[in-house]
């Protein structure tokens, strides 16, 4: 069995190699794995482009998204073979003569805000309560679990729809054209799932030796929660947020499509589909184009989310 015994020289070179190789943290490792995932990178690229369009909508969009041109309504996009074209509107115009391209571009802004703001709220509430409930336990944990049982009995969308429908005509529903109410509705419904996820993580982590060691050496509870438990529970949280953002965007589209989301004339993809749907069979493009945009953005987020999950936690399946 001579092959197994390594010579002293070989042993030294392996050790030297180990010492000189740059240490990589979990996060660098994950980023390295994510970068090799082509679909995830494509998703990230599309999301970056969407964010770029959203931030610079004012400069990029050729026209005001709400300006009506009564002389050129229902124009077809340039590739459609018909007589209804206007050289001004590349992707055509809707029933009220508004430029579809500009409306599509401005919609990215609402989508991005609706994706990010409720998710940030959900993150801060969900992580805090999940950490505390999981670590401290007791009545707080009991209360959280009973509360989540109730929220789980509602399908998410059903609950969001009830909140939107009933509070729409209050002062809250009027803030920023219905945007604030969407934030509230989505945050109220979604923080529960994240809190439960973090709690589960903490329950399994707090039995581990490193937490016991921290406790034994007298690290204060607050510091254990923030410095020890939180970073170790972060990976699944990031994955769940990567799916929460498109979920929130989709909820906005569905609500606006049903007519209880963002108020017209603000341009969002859902509002565009809602407004165009009544004349869908005569002029399909004002509906089809935003539908295509929603599909592309949703696919981009799924690619990125799947990639993040594979990169951050190889044990997680599906």
């Amino acid at each position: 069995m001579a092959t197994i015994t390594t010579s002293a020289a070989q042993q030294r070179s392996i050790e030297a190699n180990l010492l000189t190789r740059k240490q990589r943290s979990l996060w660098q490792d994950a980023w390295w794995r994510l970068r090799r995932n082509k679909a995830a990178m494509l998703g990230l690229g599309i999301i970056a482009l969407t964010a770029f369009l959203a931030i610079f909508a004012q400069v990029i969009a050729p026209y005001d998204p709400t300006a009506q041109d009564t002389k050129a309504n229902n124009m077809d996009p340039f590739w459609v073979n018909s007589i209804y074209h206007s050289s001004k509107y590349v992707l055509g115009s809707d029933e009220l003569g508004r430029d579809i391209l500009s409306r599509l571009i401005w919609s990215t802004r609402i989508s991005l805000i609706v994706g990010l703001v409720p998710t940030a709220i959900v993150f801060s509430i969900g992580v805090t309560l999940g950490l505390v409930a999981g670590y401290v336990g007791g009545w707080l944990d009991n209360l959280l679990m009973r509360f989540t049982d109730i929220i789980y009995a509602f399908p998410d969308l059903l609950f969001v729809i009830i909140i939107m429908a009933t509070l729409r005509s209050t002062w809250l529903g009027d803030l920023m054209g219905g945007l604030v109410l969407i934030f509230v509705a989505l945050a109220v419904v979604n923080w529960v799932g994240l809190a439960r996820l973090v709690r589960g993580q903490v329950l399994s982590l707090k039995e581990k030796e490193f937490i016991e060691a921290a406790r034994a050496t007298g690290v204060p509870t607050k510091r254990i929660l923030i410095r020890h438990l939180f970073p170790n529970a972060l990976a699944p949280v990031i994955v769940s947020l990567a799916f929460a953002i498109p979920g929130a965007m989709l909820a906005e589209s569905v609500l606006s499509f049903l007519g209880i989301g963002i108020r017209p004339p603000t341009a969002t993809w859902g509002v565009m589909i809602n407004e165009g749907f009544t004349v869908f069979s005569q002029s399909p493009w004002p509906v089809l184009l935003p539908a295509v945009c929603i599909s592309i953005v949703m696919l981009a987020f799924t690619f990125l989310g799947d990639g993040l999950r594979d990169a951050l936690d190889p044990r997680m399946k599906i």
């Binding site: 109730i150 009830i162 429908a165 589209s253 929603i294 949703m298």
Partner: protein, 307 residues
């Protein structure tokens, strides 16, 4: 097991109570009376007062809630505010339609997902596998109302093969059923594939092979039987998804079910209908989840559900 089942069934009562409380509080926090809708032709104050009295809206909120609960237990949700009929009647008429649509979609999604998931796991990293993964990703990602828009454009507007709206003969059911089934089918395909792959790598499968069982027997009795357990658990959330998916699809295709009734009652602020449909949905979802948990316990005796 029996104790667990009873406990879960009893837990329905407080949960339903809180669902009712939350919905009730929300519905009644909306400003204005439901009878002040038409601003151009306002109802005389005396009429509004009489209507409020008729529907108990003049009473203080807690009393209204108690009255509501008392009636709801007897499945009496009063008359609808927009249709001149009892809420229970309207729901009773829409429910069979929604149930038919839901069951059809569930069966169709299982019929697509199980073979697809099993085959793609057995032929991992082949064209079939990539094809089914592509289907699963697209079906899971693209929302059903967007798929519905594309489907209506292709099959109803362009090809004129299928009617867009209505309900009755089989041609009306094709598009709503297929589109409603796509999302659940995609989720189930992903789960089936992943759980088959997990089961194939287990030691007992290698044992079964090494003792010379035929490949077919190994796959069917050892791999598939165990792989179906996680699939069974996901049927609960999938059913919930079918229910929420149904009201967008029913609205899009004008299917006269509970889903569309729910959306129109929301838009018309018909509170008795909103309350009744919400409670119905919450009840169905809880029953679906409990059934799945119990089935899970029976399928896999290692799971201690009682804890």
């Amino acid at each position: 097991m029996l104790q667990y089942t009873i406990r879960r069934l009893l837990l329905i009562i407080p949960t339903m109570f809180f669902v009712a409380l939350i919905t009730f509080a929300l519905a009644h926090s909306a400003p204005g009376s439901p009878f002040e809708k038409n601003e151009n032709r306002p109802l005389p104050q005396a009429t509004i007062d009489r209507l409020n009295r008729l529907y108990n809206i003049d009473k203080p909120m807690p009393e209204q809630f108690v009255l509501f609960l008392g009636n709801a237990i007897r499945l009496d949700f009063g008359p609808s505010l927009t249709h001149d009929r009892a809420v229970t009647d309207i729901i009773g008429q829409g429910f069979p339609v929604s149930a038919q649509l839901g069951v059809q979609a569930l069966l169709l999604s299982l019929a697509i997902a199980l073979p697809l998931g099993v085959v793609s796991a057995l032929k991992q990293n082949t064209v079939i596998d990539y094809g089914s993964l592509f289907f699963a990703t697209v079906g899971y990602t693209i929302p059903s109302f967007v798929i519905a828009i594309f489907a209506i454009y292709i099959f109803a507007v362009n090809l004129r093969m299928l009617p867009i709206i209505g309900w009755g003969d089989i041609r009306h059911m094709i598009l709503p059923t297929v589109i409603l089934a796509l999302g659940p089918a995609a989720v189930l395909t992903r789960i089936t594939r992943a759980s088959m792959l997990e089961a194939i790598r287990q030691d007992y499968v290698r044992t079964a092979r090494s003792k010379g069982l035929r490949e077919q027997v190994v796959i069917v009795t050892h791999v598939m039987k165990n792989a179906m357990i996680p699939v069974a658990t996901i049927v609960g959330p999938v059913t919930a998804g079918l229910i929420t998916g149904s009201f967008i699809i029913e609205q899009l295709f004008s299917v006269p079910g509970v889903g569309r009734l729910y959306v129109t009652s929301i838009l018309g602020r018909d509170y008795p209908v909103i309350m009744a449909t919400t409670l119905l949905y919450a009840f169905l979802i809880m029953i679906a989840n409990i059934t799945v948990d119990i089935v899970y316990g029976i399928l896999d005796p290692r799971i201690k559900v009682g804890k």
